[in-house]
């Protein structure tokens, strides 16, 4: 008999809408819903700023909508579970955020997101609104380096949103914002490992199958295949396997400074992630790479999937400054400099 995952929900078909209601309540008045839409924007938007619109499929909470807040996203368009938002949701969110300085669309590089955000961008451009698009493609397991444009976006999203949120707060033009966010995108690399599957609430079905003694290194955030299905191994072995792929991809070289992020895909314990972090710091020290700041936590989830991902972003002074800015949202807050 197939095991049906347990979830405490009301009507699964209303889960996204009810989740957003809860998210708005948790923001204590700092975000509001666009009437009738699964979309939220900051309650207070400073005048004369470039707008930062983030978004994508739901089910990955707190990503993306949980990252609307101070020095982070200005607003988010939300899709159903694992499905891109529809064009009119993106369009209406963009209209609510536009302050005449242009809009940056920042989202994960998936076919569905690309099509829906592009349709919305064309609608806005027809009205004379300047829209630029940056698709996050940090997953090194998804395609070889020469096809980086084919890679998916995973937990590097959080670092990208913080860089972009800092950029729209401090830089005056869409050109400048686009330049610095593209730099961050060029320098961010991630990889995940899956231990067990998550499920979509409405279908109640697991998105993939893994034997009890198996893990899949390089698996994507929706159960997309990775590059190695293998027997369960120790934290040090798995961490080494992942960090070697990440380091050699950019490549990161001795003397580089980086932001290190370890993300829980849903059901992995903090204990496991900290044990992995211990090993990663040993490996990075040996490689002559200095960690400027570390974030270990739960930011891009795949429902009850177990596993984690590792992200490195190479930093220069400009990116360090942006990542170190204080920021506040339901999903991530930061007091300031590392």
């Amino acid at each position: 008999m197939t095991k049906v995952p347990k979830k405490i929900l009301n009507d699964p078909r209303r889960a996204v809408t009810e989740m957003i209601d809860g998210l708005l309540a948790a923001s204590d008045g700092r975000t509001r819903r666009l009437p009738g839409l699964d979309a939220l924007v900051k309650t207070t938007l400073p005048a004369d700023r470039v707008a930062l619109l983030i978004g994508g499929g739901s089910g990955h909470e707190p990503l993306f909508h949980g990252f609307v807040g101070d020095n982070m996203g200005d607003g988010a368009a939300c899709g159903q579970v694992f499905a891109a938002p529809a064009p009119h949701v993106i369009y209406e969110t963009a209209k609510a955020l536009d302050r005449g300085r242009g809009i940056l669309f920042l989202y994960g590089n998936y076919a569905g997101d690309t099509m829906n955000f592009d349709i919305a961008a064309e609608m806005l451009q027809d009205e004379g609104i300047d829209v630029r698009t940056i698709r996050i493609s940090d997953d090194v397991a998804a395609a070889p380096p020469e096809r980086k444009h084919d890679r998916r976006g995973i937990a590097g999203d959080l670092l990208m949103i913080r860089v972009a949120g800092g950029a729209v707060a401090t830089l005056g033009t869409l050109d400048e914002v686009e330049r610095v966010v593209n730099k961050a995108g060029d320098w961010v690399r991630s990889m995940g490992v899956a231990v067990s599957a998550g499920s979509i609430p409405e279908t109640g079905k697991l998105t993939f199958e893994l034997a009890d003694d198996e893990i899949e290194v390089g698996m994507g955030a929706h159960g997309e295949a990775g590059f190695a299905r293998q027997k369960l191994a120790s934290a040090d072995v798995v961490a080494d396997q992942m960090i070697e792929k990440i380091l050699s991809d950019l490549p990161f070289v001795p003397g580089d400074e980086v932001a290190l992020l370890i993300n829980n895909l849903g059901a992995t314990t903090m204990m496991e992630m900290l044990v992995v972090n211990r090993r990663l710091r040993q490996r990075l020290d040996e490689a002559g790479i200095r960690v400027h700041r570390t974030d270990v936590g739960t930011w891009l989830t795949v429902q009850e999937m177990a596993g984690f991902s590792i992200t490195l972003m190479k930093l220069d002074d400009e990116l360090k400054g942006l990542l170190d800015m204080p920021c506040r949202s339901v999903g991530f807050s930061n007091m300031g400099a590392a």
Partner: protein, 203 residues
């Protein structure tokens, strides 16, 4: 087929897609993340609502269907299947009847628009493969029922053809050669849609 019958046909199409939600879910679980069925159900349920006040013309009915799908399905499926109906609607502009010829134009226009929107060509294991097979198969002598029968058969052949293909776009791309043997769920949806058109017209 006049505007009134076209609306009834589109309702039959929507009901067929909704009835196959589990077929589409299971097909998508094999190569993707398993949301294709519920997404298509959301979109086509909205299409039924959009057709409750029957549009007066054939192209308005197809456009209303496409807009409802685009706005409610989400994901790649919403953009792609919405485009099938909104772009395909142009083939019926200013016409009081769906003819075998305008039906063939509908398929060709839909195929071209989906290819442009998705940046895909045939052979990448997508719904475009079923649409391409259907568009070519529809080039037969005969009446509308014969053209639709041929198109539905073509779409089914397209579904079969996707089994041998390696996915090179979308979430299934990461499977590489492991995608061989599985049909593309979007192609199955095309076959369901064209099969429902055939069934309505033949009845």
């Amino acid at each position: 087929m006049d505007a009134k019958a076209s609306v009834a046909m589109l309702r039959a199409v929507a009901e067929a897609v909704i009835a196959n939600v589990d077929v589409l879910t299971d097909a998508d679980l094999a190569t993707g993340d398993g949301d294709h069925g519920i997404g298509m159900r959301r979109g086509f349920e909205a299409a039924l609502v959009a057709l409750d006040a029957p549009p007066a013309t054939i192209d308005a009915a197809f456009r209303a269907t496409g807009m409802a799908i685009m706005a409610n399905t989400g994901g790649a499926a919403g953009a792609v299947f919405g485009t099938v109906f909104t772009a395909g609607a142009k083939a019926f502009a200013g016409q009081d009847e769906i003819t075998p010829n305008s039906f063939r134009h509908f398929l060709a226009d839909a195929q071209a628009a989906v290819s442009k929107r998705g940046g895909v060509v045939e052979g990448q294991k997508t719904m475009l493969d079923a649409l391409g097979f259907a568009a070519r198969a529809a080039a037969v002598e005969g009446d509308l029922a014969e053209a639709m029968t041929a198109a539905a058969k073509g779409a089914q052949d397209g579904v079969e053809a996707t089994k041998a293909m390696i996915a090179t776009t979308g979430k299934a791309r990461s499977l590489g050669e492991r995608s061989i043997g599985h049909p593309d769920p979007g192609a199955i949806s095309v076959a369901i849609i064209l099969g429902a058109m055939r069934d309505y017209t033949a009845a």
